[in-house]
């Protein structure tokens, strides 16, 4: 069923009784050309682009829970392409371009809103760093505007401009940055992949990866064995456990990142804003809730909840930046499990096992990467070659020294 404004109107007139399920609930077949482990944003996008770009439709996505039950539904929904390093810059630029055509491509409203992202800076040194980053973004073909203090005040009059400890010197505006409806991204890719014949198999946990003579031959699941010539592991948050089934040890440590949402308010914050003093970023959802987050809890964790010190820190940072939100009541907080790599950049690569591929290590920047990650992982699985924009996301870059340390914080998993 194709979605359109006319159909919404027509269904409204007849009691919305004509809608059908957005995707099938197929029984797993014994044999596929390719399997994707993980039915989150990246896995579903990989399946969609395998079908669309490479004509591979005898494929399946295996999801241990329900589609989109992991980090795709647990993030702060920010979409941006403001990276600096070659390797990251072209990848996120490609992703943003895919975002801009995503709704037409998927025939699904993912509520992509390019409301503009503003990274604030608070010192001369930070201004220089952001000016340089802005230049890198422009050189990549994306957009960046360096705002001075008055320029920021015009857009964001509600910030605390009298803070003497962290004075606002200005901000780097990325007009094409913004947000999207996170769940809808998973649902849109799921529906579009299903329409192209991909089997989306839920409640199907992979319990083993079959390898014969150094080649992957299929997987064992809670719904039986499934054979396949190619298998992609797209399970950020659980990458270590799945890779261990194939005997791999990854450069990943899992950490918990918390996020928060307030009760619904009238429109008050029009952009995505990040505080350059600490790790604090905020936007307002279309439903009215202020969605914000901060830094990792800093210790390895698989608990989808955090501890109070980081809650306090995030609230303090928010109050320091924009005291007006102090009366808003926090509705919910939650935690997501992040694959943290030693350089803060992801991995899309082959593994030492033939036919086994990995898409992992998204740190806490995975949401905006969903389209390009799926696009490049599909390219890799179909052709055996890395896509040009993801060519530096190698699994062995830590051994070869080709690190992509965007923040320059060093080789420790939790510092990115």
């Amino acid at each position: 069923m194709r979605y359109s404004g006319f159909r919404v109107l027509a269904q409204g007139l007849f009691g919305n009784t004509g809608w059908q399920p957005a995707w099938r609930d197929p029984v797993p077949k014994p044999d596929y050309d390719a399997l994707i482990i993980g039915g989150g944003g990246h896995g579903l996008a990989t399946a969609y682009y395998l079908a669309k770009n490479h004509g591979l439709t005898n494929i399946a996505v295996l999801e241990k829970g329900y589609l989109g039950s992991g980090n795709i539904g647990r993030n702060t929904t920010i979409v941006r392409a403001n990276y600096f390093l070659p390797g990251n810059s072209e990848f996120y630029s490609h992703s943003l371009k895919l975002w801009e055509g995503l709704e037409a491509d998927l025939n699904y409203n993912v509520m992509h809103s390019q409301r503009g992202l503003i990274n604030l800076f608070h010192s001369d040194g930070q201004r220089d760093a952001f000016a340089r980053r802005g230049n890198a973004m422009i050189n990549q073909g994306d957009d960046a505007v360096l705002l001075d203090r008055e320029g920021v005040r015009e857009l964001l009059p509600y910030l605390d401009y009298d803070n003497t400890r962290f004075p606002i010197y200005g901000g780097l505006l990325h007009p094409r940055g913004g947000t999207a409806r996170h769940d809808a991204v998973a649902w849109g890719y799921a529906r579009a992949a299903d329409r192209r014949g991909v089997d989306l198999i839920q409640n199907c946990e992979v319990t083993g990866i079959d390898i014969k003579d150094g080649r992957v031959t299929g997987v064992q699941t809670t719904r039986g064995a499934i054979r396949a010539k190619k298998v992609g592991m797209v399970v950020a948050g659980r990458s270590g456990q799945v890779a261990a089934m194939a005997g791999l040890r990854l450069p990943i440590e899992s950490h918990v990142l918390q996020a928060f949402v307030t009760e619904g308010l009238k429109p008050v914050i029009d952009h995505v804003i990040s505080f350059g003093m600490g790790h604090f970023y905020i936007s307002q959802s279309d439903k009215g809730g202020l969605v914000f987050g901060g830094d990792l809890d800093f210790y390895a964790s698989y608990a989808a909840r955090g501890n109070l010190p980081m809650v306090e820190h995030v609230m303090e940072a928010g109050m320091t930046l924009m005291p007006m939100i102090g009366r808003a009541r926090v509705l919910r907080s939650w935690g997501g499990i992040m694959d943290m790599t030693p350089d803060g950049s992801p991995i899309i690569d082959r593994t030492p096992v033939d036919g086994l591929f990995i898409d992992a290590g998204w740190n806490y920047g995975g949401f905006k990467a969903v389209p390009a990650s799926g696009f490049c992982m599909a390219h890799l699985m179909a052709t055996g070659q890395s896509h040009a924009v993801a060519a530096r996301f190698r699994l062995n870059r830590f051994a070869t020294g080709h690190l992509l340390d965007e923040e320059g914080t060093g080789s420790q998993h939790n510092l990115h």
Binding site: Y299, A300, A303, Q412, H413
Partner: protein, 92 residues
């Protein structure tokens, strides 16, 4: 979360700096090949369950502590100084 420092007693998590898995205590030898160093610096077992990591009691006695804890429940099972003193953990 509270860790029971063997020297200072139960203290708030904020007094401690986390520095990753306890593999730092098993440095490769001087003759070890580059692969061993890559593995040591970057690769992790990263278990969903009981793990051992290193914490530095930055705002206390400045001891390096080896903490045995559960990454799923945040339960602290044991805390010992790298030098050998130990306690029975802390509060998740």
């Amino acid at each position: 979360m509270r860790l029971t420092c063997p020297l200072c007693g139960p203290r708030d998590r904020r007094e401690f700096y986390y520095s990753g898995a306890a593999v730092a205590l098993d440095r490769p030898g001087a003759e070890a090949p580059p692969e061993a160093w890559d593995d040591h610096l970057h690769n992790r077992d990263n278990p969903a369950g009981v793990t051992q990591d290193l914490w530095y009691h930055e705002q206390g006695c400045c001891s390096w502590l080896k903490v045995t804890r559960n990454t799923v429940t945040h339960e602290i099972l044991a805390v010992e100084t790298v030098g050998g003193d130990s306690t029975a953990g802390g509060v998740a």
